[in-house]
Symmetry: C2
Subunit: 188 residues, 2 copies
DNA sequence: AAGTTTGTTCAGTTAAAACTGTACGTAATA
DNA sequence: TATTACGTACAGTTTTAACTGAACAAACTT
């Protein structure tokens, strides 16, 4: 008959299985600009049956509460976890955002949109500086270099416009028409 | 009349303009898993009229040749620069890959494909461990947790299948049918 | 074969990021 | 108002990543 010790052993096994996945997530989550530690945190909250408090996370990972605080904030900003309220509980509770499509899209959009805007801004400024130089220079050599640079920058600009279009594909949700979500389990 | 000093000044200005863009690239290139230093290196090669040697890069950036070597290798692996040969020159020469669409696609594909495969592998293994546990357990509590976990993992699996489809969109080049490249200069 | 030139490996150093414990501010409870 | 519970800022420490110079290996030159 099943003893209390068997139960402990099985919980160990459950933990081991969960850990296999958590460890892998932690290794790859840098793609979301998130540290491996915060990745383990994410995995822990992912498998938790209930939303977790900072203290529970701290205990589960054997790390300081401060780290949990900063870790969960980075996950929050990446829209990978969300805060939930439960009446009677004063502590902050967190659960994972369970729409992974949304998490991916959010991160993808925010990061690339931001970089694209900054780079396009820089291109504009650089172009203006070059155009000034182009007008005032009397040296053929300089003129030639300026013109080559302007061409390069315009090619880069075209690329960024394309990238903006790609980002919009995800932002508008149109990507899901082109590449539909999978909902049923596929055959092994 | 234009003096030698004017020429120097104009070259300074050219350098300043280029630097504006290089600095911005360096700030955002972490999206490609590339360090800011290697980002500056990329920008420097980008504006160079001729393919550059490691020694030239070292001089241009005021950094060690060792750093140039590792930096250029990371750019090479990301398909952002390429090596070119010129007869009579023994040193390695590098220029930027000028198809930025290709660079982006390469990086996007490689990074996400790799992470996706690893994560899907981990999901499979975790599922197998859980299925074993499911068969052997006699505790309702354990059974329930295992089943919840299996459901979560299957949802995650669906997401990764979708992501694989998205990656294929870029890998096959089909993305360019859906979001065409921009080739003409757009209006200001 | 001896001597150069060139890129890379490796050990040590410097710079940056992650993590911790204490202390603090705010809000709930008494 | 005093007390407790909670999350976060901050300063200091530890860990990790970036960078350098010296030594090495491979390939070219003489």
């Amino acid at each position: 008959m099943p003893s209390n010790k068997d139960y402990e052993i099985e919980l160990e096994k459950l933990d081991g299985a969960r850990n296999r996945f958590i460890t892998e997530i932690a290794k790859n989550i840098h793609l979301y600009n998130i540290t491996p530690s915060a990745g383990r945190l994410y995995g822990t909250v992912f498998f938790s049956e209930e939303p977790m408090t900072l203290d529970e996370m701290s205990r589960a990972l054997g790390m300081s509460k401060t780290s949990m605080s900063t870790g969960i904030r980075s996950l929050l900003e990446a829209n990978m976890v969300e805060r939930v309220w439960e009446r009677g509980i004063r502590k902050d509770l967190y659960k994972v955002e369970d729409d992974w499509y949304k998490s991916f899209s959010n991160v993808f959009i925010n990061r690339w949109r931001n970089a694209t805007e900054l780079n396009m801004g820089a291109i504009q400024e650089t172009k203006e500086m070059l155009l000034h130089l182009k007008e005032e220079t009397g040296f053929d050599d300089v003129l030639e270099k300026v013109e080559t640079d302007l061409e390069k920058l315009e090619e880069a600009e075209n690329y960024y416009i394309w990238l903006t279009d790609v980002i919009s594909l995800f932002e508008s949700g149109k990507i899901f028409e082109l590449v539909p979500k999978r909902t049923k389990k596929t055959l092994k």
